[in-house]
Symmetry: C2
DNA sequence: TCACTCTAGTTAACGGTGTTAACCGGCGTC
DNA sequence: GACGCCGGTTAACACCGTTAACTAGAGTGA
């Protein structure tokens, strides 16, 4: 009798890993811990995943997909490309603040988990950002120019706002969620102002 | 015969720790490794430091001090407060890019090492940034307003630029040192533009 | 000079980590 | 019925931070 009743083993493991991951944080998750959670020996996990990184990668995949889906949906739903750009800031930091663990793994220290962007091609969300900016330029809502550089600036601004809030939670006055969201909007406006 | 010939034990340990730290990275440094480097048992280190965190903290102190000194010197040397503000961006990312390990420990994941800003008071460099902005306002070079929020925006902008470059070294086109420095200046200008 | 204390090191050990190797029971298939 | 694979098991390795108990040696006061 296998210890996994509902669904196959792989998804059960991923769910257990996600649970521990979300509860104990990225640094507090161990293979033995995950295994204990589902009543199995630690080495059993290696039947389904090559390494801890592979398991964590699978556990984070859903979060990554959700992030890109949100960005994508925002870009599609907006009336104009510039509207999309204005809304992206809020969506970005909102995801970061509500999924700090995922954001940490994705953006703050991707090298530690051998996850993160693929060097070969731009990450989808970044490529999407470039596309939105190019659409703004094509529509005459932004001055023509280096869309990639503009995307870098926007990304850096939002990443700075989000990652400071995550890295130093409550340690510095002004890093609580509300000012953070407003600040993200302000940063987007500031960057847009340099592109018009 | 003690194994430490030049200087006292404590500084020898800190130097060895700094060397391993700079070479192997923050994740690759262990007490046993540091101890082996100076020909001593790992537990000997605990005669001089309460914990690994305490040792790393001491090893990073010089870097932290240098960072604050650079920020301070820049602010003092500038002709006007606004000039200081304009130069701070370059100084900031320059330190981050040339001391990525220190920047990592200081700003990117301070919680992991129980280092980083003291919740009780603003870190000196941040307080200094606020002071510069207030000086700009007093001199009529920036419009009056919330200096703390302005400092947050500037900090976030620079942190975003610097930490992206460190977290994803060379993985995304546009994160090489040169565009990064130029981007930092551009971000400072963008934020300043919202404050005039 | 003897005895004491303090310093700065030692080894052994504990509980934890990721990971590998060897084994083993049950199941499906030729 | 033998074979092999699938999905578990236990034992083990090398490492981690840290603690406890011990010890060689220097310094000091009686």
């Amino acid at each position: 009798m296998p210890p996994f009743t509902d669904g196959d083993a792989r998804t059960s493991i991923v769910e257990a890993a996600s649970a521990v991951f979300a509860q104990k944080g990225i640094d507090g998750v161990s293979m033995r811990h995950i295994a204990r959670e589902i009543g199995v020996s630690a080495t059993a996990l290696y039947r389904h995943f090559d390494s801890k990184n592979a398991l964590l990668s699978a556990a984070c995949e859903a979060g990554f997909a959700e992030f890109e889906a949100r960005i994508d949906a925002t870009a599609r739903a907006a009336a104009t490309p510039l509207d999309a750009l204005r809304q992206l800031g809020g969506v970005y930091v909102d995801f970061a603040l509500t999924h700090p663990m995922h954001y940490d793994v994705m953006m703050i220290r991707p090298h530690q988990w051998a996850l993160g962007p693929n060097p070969e091609r731009d990450p989808e969300s970044f490529a999407g950002l470039i596309a939105v900016i190019e659409a703004c330029q094509a529509a005459g809502q932004l001055a023509p120019g280096d869309a990639r550089e503009a995307a870098h600036r926007l990304w850096a601004a939002l990443h700075g706002v989000a990652s400071l809030a995550i890295a130093m939670p409550g340690e510095i006055r002004g890093l609580e969620p509300e000012p953070v969201r407003a600040r993200a909007d302000a940063m987007v406006e500031a960057v847009i102002a340099t592109l018009t």
